[in-house]
Symmetry: C2
Subunit: 519 residues, 2 copies
């Protein structure tokens, strides 16, 4: 039974639409081919499939370790928020009112064999499924905080939340999504602000050094602030179509929620004062960011630090004798790589051509493939294939394929996997940085701006801006662009530094902002 | 500022009601003193506080590792189940109908300054918050399974679920709870049954070897089966009041859900056949089991394998000179213990007496406390205090306290912590086993049964039973007892083996079952 059929069992799989042809379809194709997620039969909700969920689990672990290293602990608060509680912070309630899923009944009954909602089970007070948990958490903190000795309170929650979105897109925007939400309480404004920036740094560190996605840290404009916040900090990444993606936010909430939930504490001077708050979150949207930053026309590309499988091993043989030898060697290679702490998959599925396996694991973004055949055994070498190499201008696809592949003496190959993964991790970040640089421009006039965004190669425009919220809306209508963030001073490249005048109003501006189209 | 105040800051804390006085209150007191959880302002929902959640995280890690080691992967399915989907499997829908939270609207609006549910946002079809996910998952599997090559499908989900309970109890029974639910698909009944038993073994292994809670594996009677299952296997533990607690269930679902969702596959013979299913779950209820099995009148007792903190170090000093020396040594001890992979907490809080710290960490169940004072430095020893020792009949509390404490040469003490934790882990299981043995009885007549359960020291009654579902209800009414399980053959102790006659009906019975009061 070692004879392998000639038919490529994966041949019925859809192939990936090239990015250049249709970027939106390419994104969906990558998700489908990599088997990451799919729409469910429930409006706006997705099913996160095992490979997609494994990536999320890696993200969770990396983030959770960083939260704990900065003194945070996890806890869990209710899914439900009584309507009256949500309504307490007015601005907050107004911000989320249009996207709330509401539980109104608690029982079903069968009428003439048909299952219906029992009208007699109507709740006295409707319960909103949390779109975010500030209100229920601050209602709880009221019982936990009496004095400055109880502060700071540094708590994070991993949870599902629901925001009733009309237009959904896998990972980027779904009615239900998974996220973490930090909710901290502090004795002073200063400490709360420090926390807001500390977490922004944690997010940026994760984005760049784990997900290999370069980000710009900045403030949202007042119109884009979180409902109930005094300041919203964010990290913004650039996707391969030049659009911005907000990847995480960290909010300074001042005393707003403490006031609406009446959470006061006795400070060191013995005076009662409202508590200062922050909240911050990242979600499964990060998986979307990962896909759109690194993947290519062959499917998913994963930074090694988030790859559920680092190395896949594909054995090649024509008969039982070859099979036995090849599998013996493959087993040894697996063991040696696992001993290094690597996640290794031996693909010994029967009835499937090696080419079909290559195709499948490539689409799933496994960073390194090792092919082992009889010739490799003879030569004492392994064939190591990288998922990607950095592009060389003018290179043919065939030449690039050659560069991905190397035949390396066995032990050298095994010792070389970890350094290779480190290289790939670094190269992904470099590549994404270079792409962002290429697709960013310093723009000084509205005419320049208009012509820049008329071009399909548009990206981030560094512009001076001093417009109002209404004028931001006007720009959005005319160009589909928004102020992505007011970058922190150290995020502004030399060529974009300095004061100037607003491209729309001509009013003086202290610094440039980033305008772009966005997800 | 090194002078420590004489007031015990924890003195305002409530103390724990002794088990013997009021077991139900003791349970609540332990939770409160150990700071594990509390009721939220949302009816029936609890807040899991950081210390409680940290225990759940340890449980999750241990369970998840075991699921993955047995070939399972994680995924995520929607929170919502359309009403028509839930209704597809009739028995299932009937089983959960009375406890379903139902979403009927998707928007709020403000009327005269008051936030209300927008009546115009009524959903075309109500959405039930998942009480369990068989229906939505099998609806999804329909798209994933075509041939025997797609099987088995071994998927687990970590999620929150909602069952509208009228009488709630922290951890044991709440409207929302956290759990894992495995949902597997198989090509044959044999494989599905093997999976059902495999998971039961995983649960029992976790319960006994991690949570140190001895359990009996068995079948539920038909009346107690999961709605939609052909067989429900369970693990049952005994709490310190002699009541049984169902700690996990593993269901063989046959082809019921495949039929209601029309999930067929092409088998190896080229014939279309319905898929065979299992589902299985454990929940945050396990935290309740942990508390009620091991804790004592001083608070929480944790098996070391589930302790978020293994060792707490309390420095003792009277002046700055002592403080400096003691803290230097404490820092070294922390580092040396952490280097062994232990979770260590140095409690260097100012303004709190050592005694208050002992009291707090004891209540939180930290297995080992190390006290370091100037005398210990002089002697080159450490004072190591165990959270518990096995009881010796007739011993005074003072004598027991002495036995918990030992003064050990420094390096010997540090090297001895891991073996000590192993010993404590083993002793907890042994103690719980001995307790269960003491509180179990082989009972042959209804009169005996009645007198056994009239006694407050009742526990598990091994009885012959051949009654109907209605007769089970009759026993429940008369004695508040239920058939906890029909134990697997290897779970029956020698003295309870063999055939006999039902204690109620006198009908022949193949084996004894366990009857007990239960949570």
């Amino acid at each position: 039974m070692s004879q392998q059929p000639t038919a490529k069992t994966a041949s019925t799989e859809t192939s990936v639409t090239p990015r250049a042809t249709d970027y939106a379809q390419w994104y969906l194709d990558v998700i489908k081919r990599a088997d990451l997620a799919e729409h469910s039969s429930v409006r706006g909700c997705m099913v996160i499939k095992p490979h997609g969920y494994a990536i999320w689990e890696k993200m969770q672990r990396e983030l959770d370790d960083r939260f704990k290293a900065t003194g945070h602990v996890n806890a869990y608060f209710p899914l439900f928020i009584p309507l009256s509680l949500l309504a307490k912070e007015e601005q907050h309630a107004a911000g989320f009112a249009k996207e709330c899923a509401v539980v109104t009944h608690h029982r079903l009954k069968s009428i003439d064999g048909k299952v219906v909602v029992d009208p007699e089970s109507k709740l006295e007070e409707p319960l909103v499924i949390r779109p975010t948990s500030e209100t229920i958490i601050w209602d709880t903190y009221k019982g936990w905080i009496q004095s400055y000795r109880d502060l700071p309170l540094l708590i994070n929650q991993w949870a599902n939340v629901v925001r009733w979105e009309m237009r959904t897109r896998l990972f980027l925007r779904t009615a239900e999504f998974l996220w973490q939400e930090g909710h901290t309480a502090h004795a002073t404004e200063k400490e709360a602000l420090e926390e807001t920036y500390r977490i922004l740094d944690v997010y940026a560190d994760f984005a760049e050094n784990v997900a290999a996605v370069p980000v710009i840290k900045g403030h949202k404009t007042s119109g884009e602030r979180f409902a109930g916040a005094l300041d919203t900090l964010c990290i913004e990444g650039m996707m391969q179509d030049g659009k911005a993606l907000q990847m995480g936010t960290s909010h300074y909430l001042g005393q707003n929620f403490a006031k609406s939930s009446d959470v006061m504490f006795l400070n060191k001077d013995g005076q009662r004062e409202y508590v200062y708050a922050t909240s911050w979150g990242v979600s499964t949207r990060l998986v979307g960011a990962l896909i759109m930053t690194h993947s290519d026309d062959n499917g998913l590309v994963l930074p090694p630090k988030l790859a559920p499988i680092h190395v896949v091993i594909v054995p090649i043989f024509k008969n039982d004798a070859e099979k036995a030898k090849v599998l013996e060697e493959a087993g040894k290679v697996v063991a040696e790589l696992k001993a290094q702490g690597l996640a290794v998959k031996l693909d010994d599925r029967e009835g499937m051509m090696p080419g079909a396996k290559y195709y499948e694991w490539e689409a799933k973004g496994v960073p390194v493939r090792i092919e082992i055949g009889p010739k490799d055994l003879e030569k004492g070498s392994l064939c190591v294939v990288r998922r990607f190499v950095l592009e060389v201008p003018g290179e043919t696809e065939q030449d690039q394929r050659k560069r991905k592949k190397s035949f390396v003496p066995r032990n050298e190959a095994i010792a070389g996997i970890k350094p290779l993964l480190d290289t790939m991790q670094r190269e992904l970040l470099e590549r994404a940085r270079a792409f962002r640089t290429k697709r960013s421009a310093v723009i000084n006039t509205l005419a320049e701006f208009e012509s820049y965004f008329a071009n399909k190669d548009a990206g981030f425009a560094w512009v001076h801006w001093a417009g109002t919220h209404e004028q931001e809306d006007e720009m959005a209508k005319r160009f589909e662009t928004t102020v992505r963030c007011i970058p922190l001073p150290d995020q502004i490249p030399a060529e974009a530094k300095g004061t100037g005048t607003c491209i729309l109003t001509g009013q003086p501006s202290q610094q440039r902002v980033i305008m772009a189209r966005a997800y």
